[in-house]
Amino acid sequence: MFDNLQERFERAFKVLKGHGSITEVNVGDTLKEVRKALLDADVDYKTAKTFVKNVKEKALGKKVLTALQPGQLLIKITQEELTELMGKAAAPFELKAKPSVILLAGLQGAGKTTHAGKLAKYITDKNRKTLLVACDVYRPAAVDQLQVVGESVEVEVFAEPGVIDAVGIAKRGVEYAKKNGFGAVIVDTAGRLAVDSKMMDEIEAINKAIKPDESLFVVDAMTGQDAVQTAKAFNDRIDFTGVILTKLDGDARGGAALSIFSIVGKPIKFVGVGEKMDALEIFHPNRMAERILGMGDVVTLVERAQQVVDEKEAKKIEEKIRKNKFDLEDFLSQIQQIRKMGNVKDLLGMMPGIGKALRGVDIDDNAFNQVEAIIRSMTPKERSMPRSLDLSRKKRIAKGSGTKVEEVNKLLKQFEDMKKVMQMMNKGGEKGRGRLPMPGMGRGR
């Protein structure tokens, strides 16, 4: 617990060190990191390049007015840009005519059939009677699969076993839906590669034949650089209306979402988050932006720190640390600052890398209570000179704070250790340089 506190403490101070404005020099490393984060997330190489360039242009010359460092401000701008882009990439899924015709298309194994089922459930839940049409006449047992899926969501499946004319099946399926009063019809198609011109002709023909209200390109969130080419090829043929990004319950960062939107300008309408039939969600732009950057919620943390850290107060404390006059009174005020930022576990969870490590670990906010109680049981003089405490004083403090002498000793020991660390930080200088500036980690100048 105390270690974490110390870490927070360290950060809280370093946050104050930002000055000046954003220049090529002070954000160079950060830009590289941002670019790497995007590429690691499988954002298209060229898209990443353009994006980073845009962020840089936007950021250069910006005054760093707050407690942020230039690098941190840049990350904030990056996140804002990405969220904005992703926000543009979000669009509602609207059911229009009755029946509303929906076409699903994509590569093999993207999850079309599963998502046909999920979508059927989603629409049925909106009180529209839905029909599934099985047009994957190639993959063994694909029709069976759709039938099983249809059964599990209690939706009728239109299939013509043995027929290999996918265009005809699609047409007749939609006709059937019209005649029988269905509110929506979802046409599942075979997976196909963008280079397979025969199959691409087929999907184009299906699209023309049924004139869907929504044609959705289904794409695996794990897709790499190829996402762009594939999306482009499908878009050229069927001018799709939106994207379903699947398998987001995995740990892929899903940069393909950004690439596809940047290149073909089509919105993401749904994300698939599991194999169950209700594992379909509306696309959340901000979550996607965070996921692609893979940076935890750095920005939120920085923003909150910004709101609560009183700069004057902090300067005073920084001065004290430099003169090695930091005492328990200052320590108490720091704890209160940190607590103002919110629940400690939430705060730590927002730190990149730490969130994961904390999963399942229970951080006790009360640990702070004890520390506070002990310090509050001291006289001002004791707080400024903790080394002067003898056993009888310690006993009194323990009694006053409802703790034991050992606990008082532990706190004092840790406080001394922390002061040593602070001294080292004073002298040690630039060890955080070159790394990704997180709150309090880098010291871009």
């Binding site: 790497k36 590429l39 690691d40 997330a41 499988d42 190489y45 590569l107 093999q108 194994g109 993207a110 999850g111 059939t113 190639y138 993959r139 063994p140 047992a141 694909a142 069976d144 699969q145 759709l146 039938q147 099983v148 899926v149 599990s152 590669l193 963008a194 280079v195 397979d196 011109s197 695996d220 794990m222 897709t223 790499g224 650089q225 190829d226 996402a227 080419q229 594939t230 090829a233 398998k247 319950d249 995995g250 740990d251 892929a252 960062r253 940069g255 393909a256 194999e275």
Partner: protein, 339 residues
Amino acid sequence: MSFFKRLFGKNKNQSAEQVEKKASLDAGLEKSKKSVISRIAKVFSGRRKIDEDLLEDLEEALMMSDVGVDTTERIIERLRKRAVWEAYLDQSELINMLREEIAHLLVGDDIGHALTNHSVFSVDEIDSGDGPAVILVVGVNGVGKTTSIGKLAHRYKSEGKKVMLGAADTFRAAAVEQLKIWGDRVGVPVISQGMGADPAAVAYDTLESAKANDIDVVIVDTAGRLHNKVGLMSELTKIKSVMDKIVPGAPHEVWLVIDGSTGQNALVQATQFSKATDITGLILTKLDGTAKGGAVLAVCDQIKIPVHYIGVGEKMENLQDFHPLDFIDSLLPESLDDK
């Protein structure tokens, strides 16, 4: 420099069989591939030394093939270092230097491997004693496990082996049906228990039956699972231990199927599956599209698992041996050609 000559010379003198294989692949893919060498040469033309522009072009080509930032940077870094001391370079030497660096990642230090056909995996290599050779096939959802198994069955059967399949994907709708259809197509028996059955029980039945019927090669299909789902990953461990009870040492091979269009997540998949099951080989699928499968470089390099086969279509014949050099060449040219 003799190594480059060797590498380069070897490629020129590809056996007629190899050339033919490659030609048929190209035709099948309807790709009008110009000679790889001539295309790279175009990029390199007019450049006699490695400069930053050239390295940037190479970086872009590798990144756009999903090789990833870290691996790309390592390759480029090594090229940069070598460029200093190997002062006189002509185009073919540059090309070969690059190929050598990638081969180094793909097949480790034994670069000679990449040059010969010895790296081609053969099912005869599996040492299963008197019992059947047991292969367990795993992977995330939608990578092409079942299709690959159909193709493997076809291949081994054509090699004169008695093959049996086990339908232990009892989860995905109609997965059992799909494998059965493959079994019919290829003409090999499929052991199944229907949907929802315990996959370990299916594995048990399959191996029992294989033993009783004097089968040579058993291939067991499993449900696709995302590698971050702990419960599903431990299910694999259970399947494995059941297998070992019936055929000691089984599964002799555990193959991870990776979708060729997967990006940087491929390495995570390989890492996680390796933790759960000791992966012994990779099958890289869907390489008949525009995806390059470069992500597998990092997998080979960092986890030291060899690629055994590549999938290049939906027909049962569309499974090829993995030839490192062909793969390396396929990583480079197209994006360089854009320049």
